[in-house]
């Protein structure tokens, strides 16, 4: 029986929404910052000034990539810190104005759990529902606004199902009402065009390792005049708003990676979309009782998310892993909780189908041969697990 499953194995990494390999050009740009240009940008001598110049160049690269001004970019330890800072910082600075926050049910936990913390402190949070494709309705954002609303936070694109949100439409509503608008763009950088002005975004979180940059570095864009508290107390780094000696190598890597990601976006999107659409089409055609999660067209070019009925996601992942394929699932069985993905359940999937979801996220090194290989092994994995399942009606 295992002969059908084993046989030739090929290493295929299709979990680029989790993390990406660092590009050689990025590593090369970072390397001198470790042992040659190691100065602390806060010091006064030449070595430090050199580090300061390097850091500000990287800040400019990040700003350029999202249409911001250089001084509106604040380096953080990653996307999670940027989201935490945006939400808690704006909430704290506007406490006298109001206590109401609007977000969506499908945000990343960095946003959702920040909101939960604020709820414990007495803030009120509206978690907007999404449609079956995972889209937030802009009109629903407007309806949720009250006199006490001090922040709107809706992600640019979802990490699990890849659904792209109507950010510009929500941004316009936020601007009309004079409410700060934060977007978690961690999955969106290098995947969709981002321009903070035309999208009406006041705060934006991004993370280096999602676009072939290093881990441990991200940034928060803060539009000038946005009221926000400090996140880290200490030295005067990051214009006095985020203390701590700057991660100069990380920032340099982030700057280089975002520059390359944005420059190469058009050709990457074309290439990845073709692979994505072939994967989706052939999986749905060849494997019965399967559905696509997320939006058919308004989705990230690299995201495939399908639900297989009657089987559980972690089992699928482990069998794929023995065949060399690295993927991800919305099933809770990979974590300590028993709850399936909050994103898939918000889209209306019953729990057993949410448990049976598989996420494949494509990236720079994937080829058509990788797609062929996944399409050749996946039906056998699904069939094998379905034979074991008491839910399968074909007994």
């Amino acid at each position: 029986m295992n002969a059908a499953i084993r046989g030739r194995s090929r290493p295929v990494y299709m979990d680029h929404a989790a993390t990406t390999p660092v590009r050689p050009e990025v590593v090369e740009a970072m390397l001198p910052c470790f042992s040659e240009r190691y100065g602390n940008p806060s010091s006064v001598y030449a070595l430090a000034r050199e580090a300061q110049v390097t850091l500000e160049k990287a800040r400019g690269q990040v700003a350029e990539a999202i249409g911001a001004a250089t001084e509106e970019i604040y380096f953080t330890s990653g996307g999670t810190e940027a989201d935490n800072w945006a939400i808690k910082g704006v909430a704290a600075a506007n406490r006298k104005k109001g206590d109401h926050i609007i977000t969506s049910a499908i945000e990343h936990h960095a946003v959702l759990h920040s909101c939960r913390t604020l709820e414990k402190q007495g803030y009120r949070v509206t978690y907007l529902p999404v449609d079956e494709f995972g889209r937030v309705e802009p009109a629903a954002v407007e309806e949720a606004i009250t006199d006490a609303t001090i922040l709107i936070s809706v992600m640019a694109a979802n990490n699990e199902i890849g659904t792209i949100q109507p950010i510009a439409a929500i941004g316009e509503i936020a601007r009309d009402h004079g409410i700060p608008f934060h977007t978690d763009a961690v999955q969106a950088i290098g995947a969709i065009p981002i321009d903070v002005d035309s999208m009406g975004v006041d705060l934006l979180a991004l993370s280096g390792h999602k676009f072939y940059g290093p881990k441990g570095i991200g940034a928060l864009y803060i539009r000038k005049k946005t009221r926000i508290g400090t996140f880290m107390d200490g030295g005067a780094q990051e214009r006095g708003r985020r203390a701590g000696t700057e991660n100069v190598p990380g920032a340099v890597g982030l700057g280089k990676a975002i520059e390359l990601a944005v420059a190469e976006m058009p050709e990457n999107v074309t290439r990845l979309t073709a692979m994505r659409d072939r994967l989706i089409r052939e999986i749905l055609e060849t494997i019965p009782d399967t559905r696509l999660n997320g939006h058919p067209t308004e989705r990230l070019a690299n995201n495939v998310n399908v639900a297989f009925r009657y089987i559980e996601g972690e089992s699928i992942l482990l069998m794929l892993d023995t065949l060399g394929v690295a993927a991800s699932t919305g099933s809770a069985c990979t974590s300590a909780s028993l709850e399936p993905s909050h994103v898939l359940t918000a889209c209306g999937l019953p729990p057993e189908q949410a448990h049976g979801s598989l996420r494949l996220t494509l990236g720079s090194q994937n080829t058509d041969e990788d797609v062929d290989y996944v399409l050749s092994v996946l039906p056998r994995v699904v069939e094998r697990l379905r034979k074991m399942s008491p839910l399968n009606p074909e007994r």
Binding site: M1, E312, S315, L318, L338, P340, P351, E352, S389, P390
Partner: protein, 129 residues
């Protein structure tokens, strides 16, 4: 994350399937939690001569079902009832803490299948008497 024994029972499950006209059937679990186990038993003279499982769940759930059915085959009903979730987990060379509930589910599945057998068996005896 998983022991070699868990991976072996996951990739090469023992006793996978369903006994037709089984003497005892136990289905436990809940789709919301992502685990459903269905244990079927063939019992002759109070001895489990065959045990099979079907499981919807993670690798730990599948391996626990496989190991549990292995452990109770050939045992008397009373001996099978003494097989604990700990015994299943130990036979698998351990389970990660967040997966221990899978071995609990296997124990519950066996108990439920035996309860089903006893209620039917008892009912038959009562009818006969």
């Amino acid at each position: 994350m998983y022991s070699e024994r868990v991976m072996d029972h996951f990739m090469n499950p023992r006793n996978m399937g369903e006994i037709p006209d089984a003497d005892g059937v136990g289905e436990v679990g809940n789709p919301a939690c992502g685990d459903i186990m269905r244990i079927t038993l063939r019992i002759e003279e109070d001895r489990i001569v065959d045990a099979k499982f079907k499981t919807f769940g993670c690798a730990a759930a599948i391996a626990s079902s496989s190991m549990a059915t292995e452990l109770i085959r050939g045992k008397t009903v009373d001996e099978a009832l003494a097989v604990t979730n700990r015994a299943v987990a130990e036979a698998l060379e351990g389970l990660p803490p967040q997966k221990l509930h899978c071995s609990v589910l296997a124990e519950e599945g066996i108990h439920k299948a035996i309860d089903d057998y006893r209620s039917r068996h008892g009912a038959r005896e009562a009818n006969g008497g």
